[in-house]
Structures are given as structure tokens and as C-alpha cells.
């Protein structure tokens, strides 16, 4: 099922690239995503969204009146490939703008290279937050953006006691920081937390600790197969009736498809986008997507983040009448907005992050979600506080809260 869609997608991508390459393109964009390897459930969709967005932009007259050309690279879920292909894109293919990356490490690998080469760069994935760089624009939601809503919601729904279970790397530890912050601010209490190495598959010790701590709800943030494994074991131990589970990354890939209906039902997910969002833009987007890529796999939030990024860049370039680095960034920093599938999004000029809607959804028994709450135009609070690229254009770094 997934195999055939890969084949179709990569052939389509190749054809698009070839076809657009023959035209007299003015603007050239580079796309580096994980089309193969362990992260390709995200990478393929990100790349699809980029192709779809470019197609639409070109159909409407392109950028500066000419079609946009795309150069695609496959990072193979290997970090070193990001370094290599970013340099390839800049040194050999001389791109004007780069859309790339899923993991935070891929962004951090790319950031210094585009900074030196002065190429605008869009990072489109939910992440732990804190990236700040004149060249870099983030269209995914940050941990503080998501957590600010999820924790208040959870405290109200379940009660004040929280248990944190997170992977032992930046996404997990920084998310945990925000859970503490928001719990404190809203009268909640973290009664226990545990950080897991990437290779943990046996959750028995954690289930014991959760039961001993007696939380009202668990914030579960492991990634990929680890998450579904945990949810299965949690459900099998019969804990779901008494303890709620919320997550900012459940449903960001296709965990809801992998998990068994018994384990998936009632899990609270919180994202910047769900396929079930109801608005005209999303309806059109989903329709186009299904027509081109089929409807077997749910669309992930990272795909919409890429779609938004490409459109925002095109809007800015058309507005300033140039794809030149400085001018495009100037254009983007004018605070442009766009009616996206996940609702209206607008760029914060200071932090280069998006103000966007945050949705809370509940897992149902048919491997899908029901949206139960929508928060409109939520700002990236932490990033807006720490990062002011208008006042300090030289500011560059990756900020970690509490340091």
C-alpha cells in the first residue's frame, strides 16, 4: 500500500522536476526531504505538498510572471545528506530559496550553510521551538505554541495532576519544560516524569511508575513506533479508563493508523493541522491532494506546513518583485498572511514564526480524529519573546527555555 504510493510519488516528482526544468525559469527552489528511509512517512508528504504548491503557483502565473523551477533531493533520512545536499543546492544548482528538513537536527545542519550563502530557508515541521535566524522561517508550530493550549485544556478536562513521558532528546526535554511552566501558571502539578532513550520498547517500568504517581492525565510524547507501543501497553494494562492521555505529536505522522482501535480511542492530540479541519481552503487542498496522490494515507501537518511555506514565499517574492535574498526577507517581514488549509496564518516579523490555529482532537475508533476544540491564531510566545530579528538582524541561534 505504502510502497506503491512511494513509487507513484517519486515518479511524479521526477516528472515535475524534469518538465519544469525545461521551461525558462526565473526562480529556482530547492527541496530536500527524506523521500526514503525511516522518516519518509513525513518526507514524502512534505515533498508532495511542495510539488502541489508549486503546481498551483505556476498555474496562476508563477513568481514574477515566470514558472518556478524545483530541484528535489532525497536526504534518505540521513543527517549527513542534509549538509551535502544543501551545499549541492547552493554551490551547483544555485537555488534562490530552500525548503527542507523534518528533524530539528536537519534544520540545525542547514542553518549555518544558508546563513553563510544568504539563501532564505523555510523549515516546515512541528518542533520544540527556539530557532532564531535571519535566513530561517519556521512554518510549523512550536512546543510552547501547542503546549500553551493543550495543558490548559487538559487541566480543565481531567484534573490538576500531570505525568510527563517524553523521549530523552530536545523535543522531549523542552516540551517537558513547557508542561512544567504551563502547569504552574494554571494551577496544575507535575507528579512524575520520565525520559526514555530512543531504543526503549518495554514500558512496564513506566506503567508502574504512572500508577504509583496517580496522575489525572499523561502527556505522552515518544516518537513513531515507540509511541504506538506505549499506547498499546497502556491500554492493555487497563489504565485508559482512569487516566487520560494527551500528546502534541500523536497524529503528526500516522500513529492513529498504526495503533489498534481500542488503544487509539479517546487519545487527545494537539496539532496545527488535522485533515478533518473544516474550511473551504482545506476542502480544496484535500481534494487536490487526493486527486494527485490518492487518499490511502492521511495528510500530516508537516505537509500543510510546507504548502504554507511555499505560498508565503511566493506571495512575498511577488510583492517585492524579486527573488533576491534581502528583498524577499524584507517582504516576508512585512507580516504577510495567507488563507491556509489550517486557517489563516501570518508571519511574525520578529521571530519568523507563524501565528496559526491550534486544534485539539480526539482519536476515534476508525483510525481518525474528531476535532473538539479550535484556538484561533495562536502566537509562538516563547519565540516572540526571545527572538527579535527586526531589531537584531545578526541574532542567530537555537534558544532553549530556562537557560
Amino acid at each position: 500500500m505504502i510502497k506503491s504510493s512511494i513509487k507513484r510519488v517519486s515518479v511524479a516528482a521526477l516528472l515535475t522536476a524534469l518538465a519544469s526544468g525545461t521551461a525558462f525559469a526565473d526562480a529556482k527552489i530547492g527541496a530536500i526531504f527524506d523521500l526514503t528511509g525511516g522518516l519518509n512517512i513525513y518526507g514524502i508528504q512534505q515533498n508532495n505538498a511542495l510539488q502541489l504548491a508549486v503546481e498551483e503557483i505556476n498555474a496562476k502565473g508563477g513568481v514574477l510572471g515566470k514558472p518556478v523551477e524545483v530541484v528535489t533531493y532525497d536526504a534518505q533520512s540521513e543527517l549527513s545528506k542534509y549538509t551535502q545536499y544543501t551545499n549541492t543546492a547552493i554551490l551547483r544548482d544555485k537555488i534562490d530559496v530552500l525548503f527542507a528538513g523534518l528533524t530539528s537536527s536537519s534544520r540545525e545542519a542547514i542553518r549555518p550553510i544558508v546563513r553563510k550563502a544568504k539563501v532564505p530557508y523555510f523549515y516546515s515541521s512541528l518542533y520544540e521551538g527556539g530557532a532564531c535566524d535571519k535566513q530561517t522561517f519556521v512554518t510549523g508550530s512550536s512546543a510552547s505554541q501547542q503546549m500553551s493550549k493543550l495543558i490548559t485544556w487538559g487541566l480543565k478536562k481531567y484534573g490538576p495532576k500531570i505525568y510527563i513521558m517524553a523521549p530523552d532528546y530536545n523535543f522531549g526535554t523542552i516540551s517537558a519544560h513547557w508542561i512544567h511552566e504551563f502547569a504552574k501558571a494554571n494551577g496544575g502539578e507535575v507528579v512524575g516524569e520520565d525520559f526514555l532513550a530512543l531504543t526503549v520498547t518495554d514500558y512496564a517500568p513506566i506503567l508502574q511508575k504512572i500508577q504509583a504517581a496517580k496522575p489525572d492525565f499523561v502527556v505522552a510524547l515518544p516518537v513513531g513506533a515507540n509511541q504506538t507501543g506505549f499506547l498499546e501497553q497502556f491500554a492493555a494494562a487497563g489504565l485508559k479508563d482512569s487516566i487520560g492521555i494527551v500528546s502534541t505529536n500523536y497524529g503528526s505522522g500516522n500513529q492513529q493508523v498504526v495503533v489498534s482501535p481500542e488503544a487509539g480511542k479517546g487519545i487527545i492530540a494537539n496539532q496545527g493541522y488535522f485533515m478533518q479541519v473544516e474550511n473551504p481552503e482545506n476542502e480544496e487542498f484535500v481534494q487536490k491532494w487526493h486527486a494527485k496522490f490518492g487518499s490511502e494515507v492521511p495528510i500530516v501537518s508537516g505537509a500543510v506546513d510546507v504548502w504554507n511555506a511555499v505560498h508565503l514565499w511566493a506571495i512575498a517574492a511577488n510583492k517585492v518583485g524579486s527573488v533576491d535574498n534581502d528583498k524577499v526577507i524584507e517582504g516576508l517581514e512585512k507580516g504577510i498572511s495567507f488563507d491556509a488549509p489550517n486557517g489563516k496564518v501570518s508571519i511574525d516579523p520578529k521571530s519568523h514564526h507563524l501565528n496559526q490555529n491550534i486544534y485539539i482532537a480526539e482519536g476515534n475508533t476508525s483510525h481518525g480524529f474528531n476535532i473538539i476544540e479550535t484556538y484561533k491564531s495562536v502566537p509562538a510566545v516563547f519565540e516572540n519573546e526571545t527572538c527579535d530579528l527586526v531589531a537584531n538582524p545578526g541574532q542567530a541561534g537555537h534558544y532553549v527555555p530556562g537557560q
Binding site: S10, L14, Q76, G397, H398
Partner: protein, 607 residues
Amino acid sequence: MTFENLYKSFKYSLPLALVVMVIAGHGAMDPYLAYVATSWVIFGLLAMSLDLVWGRGGVLSLGQTAFYGLGGYFGAVVAVNMAPVTGNSLIWLLPAGALFGAIAAALVGYLIFYARTGPLQTTILTYTFTLVLWTLTQSFKLTVGDAVIGGDNGMSNIPGYILGFGEGAESADPNLMFLIVVVISALAYLGVVRFMDGSFGRIIDCIRLDEEKAELLGYDVRKFQLYNFLLAGGVAGLAGGLYAGWANYLNPSIFSVQEALLVPIYVLVGGRGTLSGAFVGALLIGGVSFWLGGGAIGGQTTLILGITLIILVMFLKKGLLGALDDLCQRFLPDYNAAARDMKPVEVDSAVVSKIMLDAEAVAGPAKSLQSRDLLKRFGGVVPVDHVSLSFGPGTPHSLIGPNGAGKSSYLKVCVGLYPQDGGQILLGDQDISSLPMYERVRAGIAVKNQKPQVFPELSVQENLWMAAYSMSREPEKAGEVSSAILHMLGMDKQREVSAAVLSHGQQQWLDIGMVLCLAPRVILFDEPAAGMTNEETRELSKLVRLLSQYVTIIVIEHDMEFVRTLDGAVTVLHQGRLFTQGSIAKLRNDERVLDIYLGRRAHVQNL
């Protein structure tokens, strides 16, 4: 210049020629190609560190990327803080990287070699070390001055290669980066090759070929293995420092399995044990994948590499350089031809006496060997059961007894091949019971085991030199001693012959020669006459009797005729215990001795 000389100079001349070409032509390269090719050279350097450990040292380490990554991280931390002060980044990046790589390797190596883990365990432990680092660094966060190690987000803003000093020094462009990496790698390569051509490299080769024999020659095997591992760790760390400056970014994925997988592939493609093969492999694989490009094939890199590794291991054992070397060998003179017209050994008393007097001048007078209540157990079997014996010079000692009497075990416990479970061993007045084997050898005890132990890939002369060098640690002196023994063995014309092509009997003589090169004060021979012709056995008997005038010599022998010709003191062991002692004549009439040789009565009657 003959082809022979040319061939020998290849490992220096060809890399130098390449470096000259790069110096001349780097400016004209496509910057993108220069940028990518830089990484291939760095991988070559990394692969060379594995070849040091594996190709030369014989230990497969899957942890070279760990030292590479650690060197990279540490070099980067130092460079991030210091480069803004000095301008130049290389003076921080590279030494710090190499140093940290070496320190990490020393710690891991100490654990592995001094705990005496087996080769298999060593590979698994190095692999695990890499994987554990990969897991732990995901969450490892540390801020040192301006350097921020951010867990899985890695470490950003690492300065590139800055050559100039002072403020405003710019980092090098891709073409200059390529040149810098080529020059540094060439220097590292030439340095390592030169070092490994010396005595250290030869000792490492011997350890790879026969670890036990290397220690029986008195080399502290653990120490040399550790130093070699440390050197390789330093080279890997240097490569890591170069990589950090090239990528400007480091992340835990440097410790990933995919990264580690490439290193043995480079070595196998180029040719194991050649050192230069590592670079050939890295350039070739890098070049081919560059030429193939990304796309459909690029996406299946892991699959292709995995299958490549299997095929390489199964079919291309010697790698590209190995195959080329085989081709060159055809045009070189055949050193082994001389093995065919080897004359039987004739022991010349005058020559032997001269050698033994020279040895005495260096090593002092003969020493006695005593065991007091010596005990060795293997589970329920007790091959050495509270044996107290004393041996001295003047007459040869024979150790006899039926199969399983514990003769060989006794010898092995004395030299330290088996650790004893009780009792004492005295060499002269010195208690050597707790000394490791190599120190016992250096104290003057030398053993020749039942099977001849020679280093097959080394020439006859080199075999002897290795033994002589162990004692003197001076190349010239080792040359003199080994030439004298070579002459004594009548193998002057066979000095260049590789030990592997010698017959069994000839290998026995070579092994005996190696023992004599050690200038031992106590000699233990375990069935030295096995595989020898009657004439050779006669000469051996003469040699043993001669030697006994200068040193203590103990011979285990089954050949009773040989024992008779030795005409010395005989000790009979039975079931791990001392049975009786005396002259051949006395034992011949001892009914009890005949009894323990039950079933071999007829043979024993010849005593």
C-alpha cells in the same frame, strides 16, 4: 632503477605525486566537486585508522567512528572558543581532535586489551560503544564557553578551515579546503606509514600473525596493542576534527550505524593492511556514488552498501590494492626460490659456542629453574599436581612420561602460558610466579612449543630479527645477532625466503633459532625433534648437548632414542606428579617406569 626498487617506493612516491598534482591543480577544480571530494579524503583518513587496528593489528574495531565523532566534537568545542581569538582554526581543531580521539581510544583499548577479552568480544564491545554513544549523545547537552552541544540538535557554528591569523581571517573556499585536507591527510598517511615500517609496525604485524608467539618473544603484547589502538584513535580523531570544520556542524548521527558501516567497506575495497587502500576505497566509493548521483539509486544507499559489504567479504578478499599487488609480484624476483636448495642443518660447535658466549656477555651466566609445589588445575583434571623440581646447567634435562603425564602443561605453567593455581616458580633467585609471560621471557626463560611457531608472512631473517630485537631493542644489534644465528642454521642464502614455504623440519629449526636469538638463560623445548629427519635429529641432539654447557635446558621428548643420545638427567612425570628421576641407565631397569608405560612395554625396553 629496477622495478623492484620502484615497487618498494610506491607507497611513498605515488601519494606524493598525487599531492603535487592536487597542489598544482586544485584551483582549476569545480568548487562543488572540490567540496564533495574533501569529504572523501576525510573518510579515507578515518578508514586508515581502522586499517591500522584491523589490517595491521588484527582486531576488528567497529568503534572508529566513535573516536572520529568524539575527536570532532572536542576539536569543535576548542575551535569554537579559540578560533575567534587567534583567527586560525586548524591549530585548535586538529590537535584537539586527535588528542581526544587518542584519549578515548586509550580508555576503550585499556579495557579491552588489559581485560584480555577475546577478539569477538572486542568487536562487539567497540560496536556497542558506538551505539551507546549514539543513544547517549541524543540527550547530551553541554555549554562550554561559546560552544553549545545541544543533544540531538547537535553543535552548530563550527568554524571552517581558517588559515590566516588575527581578526578578519576568512575561512577557506572549497578548493583551498580540498587542498588543506589533502595535504594534512598525506602528512598523516606518510607519518603513519613511516612509523609502521619501523620496529613498532613489525611488532604489531607479529601480534596479528601470532599473538602468543609475540609474547613468547618477550613483547608486551597488551601494551603494543593499546598503543596501536591509541594511534588509530588519534588518526580517527584528526579525521573527526577535519570533518567538523568541513561540515560546520556535528550531530549524534556521526555515531550512527550507517556511518560506522562505511568504514570497513572503504578498507575492504582498497585492500586490508595496506593503509593507502583506505583512501583508494573512500575515493572510489565516493566517486562512484557522486557519479551515480542521488535519485532512485541514492535512495537505496543502505541496501546497496549492505550487499556490497557481503560481496566484498566473500569475493574480494584482498581489495583493489591487493589485486594490484599480486600483479606486481609477477614482475618481482621470486625470493622463495632459494628455499628449494636449502642444505640440511649442520651444527658447528665453534659457531654455537661463540654465539652462546656472546649471549652470556649480554645476559649473564646460566640460571637455574625451580618449581616448588607447582599446581595447575583444569576443572577436575590436575595436569600439574604439586610438582617440585629443580634444573640447572651442565647437562641436558629430559622430561618424559606417558601421554597425559602433564609434561607440556608443566612447561606451559613455567613460562606463564597457563596461569598456575599454586606454588612457586623460581628463575635463579628470582620468584617469577606472578610475572606475566613476556616478563618471564625477558627474565631469561624461553620456550619452543610442540608445533613450530614462526611468523609465516615474514622472511627467515625477519623472524630471527624479531626475536633478537625483543632483547636488545637496538636494530643494529638485533641485525648482528640474527645474522649470526642465521649463519648457524646454515640459512644465509634463505634469508629472504618467507617462513611459510619452509618444510616442517625447517620451521622447527627456525623456531629453535628464534629461541636462541632471545639469549635465554633457561631453554624449554617441547618435542623439538618432531618432523625432523634422522640426520636432523642427530644434529639437534648435538646442539642440545652443546647448549647445556652454557644454559639450563629442558627437553620434552617422546623419541626415546633421542633422549638416550642426550645422555643427561631424566625426569619422569606421571598423572601430573613427579614419578622418578635419574639417569637413563638407572631408569631402564626400573620396573615401575616400565609399568606406567603399559602397552608400550616393547618400546620402553629400548631405554
